[in-house]
Each structure stands twice: as C-alpha cells, then as structure tokens.
Assembly symmetry: C2
Homo-oligomer: 265 residues x 2
C-alpha cells in the first residue's frame, strides 16, 4: 500500500499559521488530500484552504471525524485547549510543537503522536520542505512507522525523537534561531543609528553560520570576548550605555563566551 | 600605472594571525609582493612567509624601511605598541582593526590609514576574499584612493568608512558574529548533554541567517519570546536552572526580543 493510500481518507489541519501553512502545502504537493482546515479565524482558514483545495471551518465541532490524520499546528499554548475541545476521532492525532509532550493527548486520544518540523517558518517565505528535519514520536510502533513514512515522503531528514529529547531540541533551537536572530536585529539597530547599511555585515552573518555548520561553533569563535580584550569590551560597553538591555546582553554574553571557550580547551 | 605598480616596492605585513594570514595570501594571489612578514613569534612569521614567498623577522627593528605599504594586522590591544616601536618609514602605514581609530597613527605617521576586512577569519578555513567587504580610511584623499584601489583589486565590496562609523560597524559585527556564534555554541552544548546530534539544527541555523539576509531580521523573528509565550519560557528557564549564565542570557534576550519587536510595530 502506498503512503498516500494509508491516508486516503484525508488529513485535517488545525491551525492556519506559519507551520500549518507550510506543512499543508508540502503535504498537498506530495499527493495527500487535505480534507479540512480549521482555524478560529475564518479568514485564515479560508486563505489556507484555497491554497490546498480543502474545506474549511472556524467551528471545531464541524471538523469531520472520519479523516486518517489530524495535525494540530497551533501556538504551543493553545494545543491543550484544542485537544480538550476536539471531539473523538478515529484517525491519528498529532501536534507539531517542539515544547509540548506527547502526554498532552494521553487521556483522550490513544492513536497520537508528534510531527515536529524543526525550522523557522515565515508565511511569506518559501521553504524547501525536503531540507526540513522532521522529528517524529508516536504512541505505538505501528503509528510511529506510519508517521515516519509520511515524514519521509516530505523530507530527506526524519528522526525518531522522544518528548524529553524534543524539549532539549526546542530549547537549543530557541538559542540557535531566535536568539541569534535577535543578535542580528541588535546589529541592525546599531548600524541604523550610525547611518551604515546592514548590507555591509551580510557576508559576515553568512560566513558565521556556515562556519558553525562546517566545524564546531565553539572552535569557530573569534572576537574581543574570547580573547578577553578588555579595552575593546570596555569601549563597546561605553557605546551601549544608553541601552541598558543591550549593555546587559553584551556583558553577560561576553563573559559566557570567555568562560565556555576557556573551560573546554 | 597599474595598481600593483603603485606598490612595487612591496608590502610589509606585521602580524601572522588569522587576518594577517588571509590578507597576505589574498594580496600575493592578486599579484602584490610581500616583502617581509613580522611576528614576535618567529615560527608564525616563518610559516606565513613561506606561504607568500617573503622574508620574515621577529625583530621589529629589522623590518625594511623602503616598502610602499605596512599593514599592521595584530590584536587590537597590540596596535598601539607596534606603532610606537615601528621605526619611521616612507610607505603608508595602515592597521586592520575595527575598533581602533586612525588617530593611533597621528603623531608618528602622516601617511596612514585603515584597511578593515569585515569578516570572521579562522586560519584553517578558506575565504573567498572577493566576497569580503573592506572598509577603507586614510589620512588624505590621495591615499584613500590608493587604498580603495588596492582593496578593489581584492574584493568586489569596498567602502569608505570613517573611524566613528567603523566603531559602530565593529560593535554590530560583535553581535552579529561572535554573539550569534555563542548562541550556536550554547545550542551545541544543550544538544550534547541530551545526546542529540547538532546536525539536526544545522538547517535551522542556515535558514535563520539567510532569512536575516533576505529580509530585515526584526521581521524574521519567530519563537516563544516574540509571542511572549510564558508557559514555554518558564519551562525553558527551568531547564536552564543549573546554568546561571545561560539562564540569565535566556531571560535577558527573551525580554529584549519582546521589547524590540513590539516597540517597532
């Protein structure tokens, strides 16, 4: 039986945000039928449904009960509520969140799992889903294999990761993605205030990421903090004295760089 | 007169670290003669000199006085000392440091400038110098043009940037490069402790950098901090409670993300 046939009764997507949108489009492209898109915002539900030729609803009670798979792709904090309100269904119920345990389904849905695409999604930005690592967990082995096969039909990188490990992965992703992006944002602001184009540091951003990918980031570290160049550090702190947040971040991150890089040598 | 001919009496490189090495090799490749490499460590001087077919010395008094250009590519904190100890020379004297003003030469060398390649260099890693932005400053317009032409023969991105702007650029680079790399290092450590491969988040690191390059980083922000998802944030802080440095960084960066992204909306 082909993978598509294992889900021939269709897939319901709950959510119409960044993850829901990119995932639904990738599923549709891979040949799966999206049966229904649910969002509490009817406009968002409709917009996504149009892209994947699906029904849509803003009433959780109107979600069809006979689909093979229910993907809850909403904000982490909303998952619990969706699980409580979703009626009993025959199909597999999964969520896509890094930080939420599979236990959220425990009492209500026996056939459940997690389908966590480890990437930063923005709605307007195209993503090659084939390159997105997908982390899979399921309530039993048969389901796990089913989800693994589904994920493998979307991406070349699929991993079986339990809830405990996924929590660490999510925390690591916050540092590697959200926090590094904030460092770019601060750089952007500093340059903006000095009338220097952000374009000048784009090759640096690219090379820094590529270096961390090609070698260990710890070994790739350069700059005043790792050298403990106090003159430069003090000058930088002085330049940041009008922004207590950035000054604090500069101070703590510099200290932490020096510590980490010297402890492991 | 060709650019090489403007420097036909050769170039002296002071320093044999990451920047000195990559820059010397790029200059040699572009057809310039490296006349002498100076380093206080004779082994390092010799190693670089062999690569660029140059003389070398660990005695600053043995540096030839008749070269056209002297490039001081040492640690920022050492530049002042080198300037003091270098004998008077006819050629142009420049340094390569982001954080040091051109004024460091003021009293001693009239023909001076700055030649700041804005990139993160590791000795073992190849760099395409054609893609490295070079920031130029000089004590007069004629020199500035000379340095601009020299830089343009190495790289397609050359900018005239004064010391004040260069300081901001250097500070921005510390955030965008050293600090974002530290975020990768922390992620690496978290994954290591959980037995999860760092490979899983490599596509995320790549996409995060590419997003910041293609759109503004502020608009690219995702994750729990920008959503102010307190449940997730508290869980993450709990996971970090044994590492007070990382907990602090998590707390301050999250707060700063929320503030910055909401103030500018």
């Amino acid at each position: 039986m082909s993978i598509e046939n294992q889900f021939q009764n269709g897939i319901v997507v709950l959510g119409a945000g960044n993850v829901a949108t990119h995932l639904s489009i990738a599923l549709k492209k891979a040949g799966y039928a999206i049966k229904c898109v649910y969002s509490k915002t009817i406009k968002a539900a409709k917009e996504l449904a149009l892209q994947v030729e699906s029904h849509y609803t803003d009433d959780i009670n109107h979600i069809p009960a006979d689909a093979d798979l229910y993907i809850i792709a909403v904000k982490d904090e909303t998952i619990q509520m969706i699980v409580e309100n979703l009626k009993l269904v025959c199909g597999i119920v999964v969520h896509t969140a890094g930080s939420i345990s599979i236990d959220v389904f425990k009492e209500k849905f026996q056939n459940c799992g997690v389908f966590y695409p480890l990437q930063t999604f923005s709605r307007s930005r195209k993503i090659d889903f084939g390159e997105v690592p997908i982390c899979i967990e399921a309530s039993n082995e048969e389901l796990e294999n089913k989800l693994f096969n589904l994920a493998s039909s979307l991406s070349k990188s699929v991993f079986k990761i339990d809830s405990e490990k996924r929590k660490s992965l999510h925390l690591a992703a916050v540092f590697a993605c959200n926090f590094s992006n904030h460092m770019y944002s601060i750089a952007h602001e500093i340059l903006n205030q000095s009338g220097v184009s952000f374009n000048l540091i784009k090759p640096l951003i690219k090379e820094t990421a590529q270096k961390a990918i090609d070698q260990e980031p710890l070994k790739a570290q350069t700059g005043p903090a790792v050298r403990n160049d106090e003159n430069v550090i003090l000058k930088h702190l002085e330049m940041l004295k009008n922004s207590s947040d950035y000054e604090k971040i500069y101070r703590f991150v510099s200290k932490s760089i020096y510590k980490l890089n010297n402890q492991e040598e």
